[in-house]
Symmetry: D2
Subunit: 297 residues, 4 copies
């Protein structure tokens, strides 16, 4: 399959079940909602080292938020409900409770993931509970005024590790295609691209020659190793970057992959974009398979 | 002491010894250096819940970086050398190794904090070492090309918890003064303001009525509790925000406090800025005391 | 009428008929679409000195643009069709033709305002015409590749000078309310706020004691002149800022005024927002009257 | 001459004498200083259609500005003193006088270019003059409070049209090299790059086959015309972009060209950067010649 001169590999992205939640952070203005959300979703590129994968999902207008203020929605993903809850609580306490003018609300129906449920004790007995339309909110006195926080947010099954590779003839071209792809994916709801700027440049394989290391560089896709290993790169490929997508459903990830791959292909062969591929473990590990050529049909 | 109508309290900020390091992240352009640095220093507001306190220190021009590319310097602080090393390594592996086009260098003389020392094993035997002017660098093959990373960076004694409070007649005024103060502090080298946007709105006291909780809201500074507790706020104060400063030396923190307090006072009483105060434990816990009136002399 | 402690004056904004057009600028990525659009809509705050009033209306996803690339929509307003056409042509030639990777398309049905119609001659005979679905496009060879530009865009009747005043107890509070208001208005389609950051701080009256000057400071609303002139400000008002809205229809301006005033009132009296008023010439000059209390009902 | 695989042409940039001035815009915070400065320097890419060439020069810390607030320095260039004065006055009146919380100061010694000298009449007789250290300032009452503006700023001889071309194998690569170059030039004082994002993609030659047109596309550098005209491009070049630099002196432009060309060459041949060239009229028109190979020695 070829789109605008770009080869779409007959392969698939292999993805895994995760648990996810959404929270809504509002503030006096968008800038301060972003400050809080960026802190909360920082250092959250990969579940392995960060405890969760997280990012800002989208901006919210005042008429889309519970308190009529501007805000942002954040999505957080982890392997288990318990692990997710722990990450949400500690990140909310360090990055939202502390952030000037912010409030924190549920972004998914349900009450599995505590928001204010335990944070309220920071109020040292001065916190006040309000029940509005069946939802419990806490008003916690702080130096700046009050921190308004909903009791809990919901949890949902989700998918982590949707992905595709962009193979290009130079680093600048791979990066430009990634910028285009991430820009397009950012417009799709229910998904995030948790790596820095949405892009990962260090794809890994399972295992390593060093025993303690569970993952190491994916040498078959490393351009500088083309002469030394059994490579999957043709001679003209000099840079490969990966976009990893976590989403709430298969459909969401498919839409994001379609938007991202389309944007990369839009730059086309004339901009040195040679191939789109994807990362998988030959179907042995992940239960979700996203076939590139099906998605791009 | 009164500056532009703003009362400067006869009190002091109580701060603690920490360990700190600086690293330099370069990339193809500043935008991607920021992407990596923001991920690496995200979720790093307070040592208690985040493992370290970290932020971007400043932007670097191409002629200020080891590889002649644009970059940023980041500062990270922790209580112990070991704790700091662990945070730097895991954050570098998740947020710099993975970030497209980035390289990572020492920002302080010395080699106490591993950068590439262990990250190199990700290269699975294909990594290459270079010794230039006595510094060891690693070239680790990745899908995008190569990750260039220095062996290690230095460590230094440092100070955490420099701080001051801005007491204002409304939330919008306190926030405007904080924006001015953080803007001024951002121009000072060797310091960071680790909280979201540089500001903390939930100052805490040691202890709580709930046994398990080691810290809780500082009710004496909570405007909504003026009628219920022994308050430190006069009737017109309706919002208090805190700026917390970590720095490499006493002098650095003094300069930052001077710049920040000056900027807040510049807005003055006519903009509802009433008082500047600071957080301390009556001198019982922290070994560094920053007296506001001395600093502002 | 009082909203959250803020008095809504029983007055109206007086606005004028204008002509408007919309153009769409796409580029390799959003950043470069913004660079072009910001140049094109710069120095366009007021029709009096700038020749037109213009601003970015909103961001466009790849699936919303004619060439499937990311882009932004810009709106430009002038008093006459001829004046508008002249401004669009010169601004397109200086700021879009010149901007790397940009393309320029109609954003309103019609062909009254030339886009590529005359710009094409820059191609010096090498330009090529394409007719797609009844629309003519020009491909103009440039050093970077080709500038793709639609023949023309449409024109529509429009309204300039929708406005409201925010009266506050300090400058920082007025500014915070303006930021909130402009943030909310930015989410409304078909309108722009052409002044710097969306705000004007120098409201004017018709005429002056200096004969050559057609407009001068609106002293009845100047806080520093409360003691010297017949003021419209009560003693506690220390700062007044104005938000000026140009829109494609009465309904659009009403929606924008509602969103903006709501956001300002959301901060409320406790943040020093005292009154909302509006600018008019007692109905003598402008044919559109926007009554604040009707809009906020 | 070859740098990192990039050919440096044995040619020169031909530049012209201009007049320039610097002004300083301060505000309550950097964001609002930028809002004003971006409006003032918008639609100012080329002297031909915009009346002046202008851009933000650099950010200023509070201790670098006359009123101790954060600010930015802007540079404006025109062909004559009179033309420059007219542009500065109209742009200051539309974009700084109107911008909330802004103040406007001289950035160069001298008093040739009016700032407040005529703007003061907007005060309608209520303006107040202050003489501080031999400089006259005006306090003009406005709705927001007062507009503080210095009487005048200086003028200096300057140079417009310093330039270089980046020739690359694809559009994405040319753009990446331009981003790197503009990023590096932004760190150099006394210069601006007035085109959108600092880059021009539509280099022109003098004259056209259409009599009324004084300039048209530089077809010898148009990649799509390689087969039709006497081209200056070798077969692999598919995109050419130009960076135009205005500066206060020859030395400033040389430093900027060196920094920009170095940054582009840093990406190198492996990123498709093939050649650096420059625009000239064979020495017939401009009095300043910047030889690329001399600058890069």
């Amino acid at each position: 399959m070829i789109i605008n001169g770009v080869m779409i590999d007959a392969t698939f992205a292999e993805a895994f079940p995760m648990k996810a939640t959404r929270a809504i952070i509002t503030a006096q203005n968008l800038k301060w909602a972003y400050h809080s959300a960026q802190a909360m979703t920082g250092f959250a590129t990969s579940i392995i080292g960060c405890g969760c994968e997280a990012d800002i999902e989208r901006e919210l207008a005042p008429d889309e938020t519970p308190d009529g203020r501007p805000g942002v929605a954040v999505l957080l993903f982890a392997m288990s409900s318990k692990g997710l809850a722990r990450q949400v609580e500690i990140r909310a306490s360090q990055c939202v409770l502390t952030a000037p003018t912010s409030a924190l609300f549920a972004g998914i129906t349900g009450s599995d993931i505590p928001l204010g449920k335990n944070l309220r004790f920071f109020g040292d007995g001065f916190q006040i509970s309000k029940l509005i339309n069946g939802c419990r909110y806490w008003r916690i006195p702080v130096m700046e005024g009050e921190f308004l926080v909903e009791e809990a947010t919901g949890i949902t099954t989700a998918i982590g590790g949707g992905n595709f590779f962009i193979l290009a003839q130079s680093q600048t071209q791979a990066l430009a295609a990634c910028e285009a792809a991430v820009g397009a994916i950012n417009k799709i709801p229910n998904v995030i691209t948790p790596f820095p700027g949405g892009v990962a440049r260090s794809g890994s394989k399972v295992g390593s020659k060093y025993k303690r290391l569970k993952a190491s560089t994916n040498e078959a896709f490393c351009p500088t190793l083309k002469g030394q290993v059994s490579t999957k790169l043709s001679p003209e490929i000099e840079s490969v970057m990966e976009i990893i997508i976590d989403g709430l459903s298969k459909e969401d990830i498919k839409k994001a992959m379609y938007a991202g791959i389309s944007a990369a292909c839009n730059l086309g062969a004339k901009n040195g974009i040679s191939r789109i591929s994807a990362g998988n473990y030959e179907g042995k590990l992940g239960s979700f398979h996203f076939h590139l050529q099906e998605i791009m049909k």
